[in-house]
Amino acid sequence: MTLFGSDPTPYIALLLVGVLPSEIWRWMALVVGRGLDETSEILVWVRAVATATLAAVVAKLAFFPGGALADLPTGWRVAAFVIGLTAYAAGRKSVLLGVLSAEAVIVGASLWLGIR
């Protein structure tokens, strides 16, 4: 492990292609969103777009993953979603129960398949 490293390049990359392309949307939101009220029709649309984009990020992270998750066959990841959602619904909308059930599938399947 390295504490700071002697090369400044990764830090410049962090600011230019990590922080800037993320933060710019937050700044733009402050300009665009000024003066909107909680009940406006535009806000209903904006919330639908935010929700759809997050759901898309979920699908991207789960079905086009990196690291150890990529070694687990897609079917198991689908099963984890189905079991997690079922447990969430059965457990009277308990996020904790849903998360734990889905994770049990991921850990169980990884151990059973002997992924290393």
Partner: protein, 245 residues
């Protein structure tokens, strides 16, 4: 608490502490576990510890963080990495816009507004939409700053823990840590979705991404998010208009 502090109404610092306390809940635990995963990924790619911690604090968006570190390690061009990070973070715009009306920022310093906007990420968006309506209007900004500070502190600590645990965590558990963000995001969306348009948007966004990925031009997040969300809004609006007398 000093005796000089007025007991009623609540002072701005009391709201801040209330926000800090609200950060100690399930989302902070999930967030910490997620950032343990991200910290260990950063260490695995050979990034310095200070870099990993700065990225957590300054980017404050898990997917963008993972895309950046993976992209830099793969040797992809900075422009390509920047565009992918930007696309993964477009969601922050509608998230901040939809939280703003709850914050009542009108009479606040612009710097405070920028800090509030920086704190917006999935966990605080979900918690903000849920908790802010219960807080008095004048206390919402300090409450939100307290909530954000608490979540950011736990995520940064977790990044360091993950960094040191890299290579020690068994692969089955690294897979589980990487799956935490998707399953938690998804269930959180179900808990915040009140309107029909929001519930439709979850399905259209999720399956829209899988469909849009077959195009292969790298813009699938945009198609599924903007297209899926607009379609969900349009269908819900149509149903509302039909039911109206």
């Amino acid at each position: 608490m000093s005796a000089a502090e007025p007991s009623l109404p609540l002072s701005q610092s009391a709201y801040f502490r209330q926000g800090l306390r609200a950060a100690v809940a399930l989302p902070a635990v999930i967030l910490a576990a997620t950032f343990i995963g991200i910290g260990s990924v950063c260490a695995g790619y050979g990034m310095p510890l200070a870099w990993a911690l700065l990225a957590t604090v300054l980017i404050w968006a898990g997917p963008a963080h993972l895309i950046l570190v993976g992209g830099l390690a793969s040797g992809a061009s900075w422009v390509a990495v920047g565009i992918t990070v930007g696309l993964s973070s477009v969601r922050l715009l509608p998230m901040v816009v939809s939280l703003l009306p709850y914050l009542r920022l009108q009479n606040r310093n612009p710097v405070v507004a920028v800090i509030c906007a920086h704190f917006v990420a999935i966990s605080i968006w979900v918690e903000g939409l849920r908790l802010l309506p219960q807080i008095d209007a004048e206390g919402r900004v300090p409450f939100f700053l307290g909530l954000g500070t608490g979540l950011l502190a736990s995520a940064t600590t977790a990044t360091a823990v993950g960094y040191f645990l890299a290579g020690i965590i068994p692969p089955a558990f690294s897979a589980a840590l990487l799956f935490l963000t998707p399953i938690f995001f998804l269930l959180s969306l179900f808990t915040t979705a009140r309107a029909l348009s929001d519930r439709l948007a979850i399905g259209f966004g999720f399956f829209g991404l899988l469909a849009a990925s077959t195009i292969g031009d790298g813009l699938e997040l945009l198609y599924a998010g903007l297209g899926g969300g607009t379609l969900a809004y349009g269908l819900a609006r149509l149903k509302r208009l039909r039911e109206a007398p």
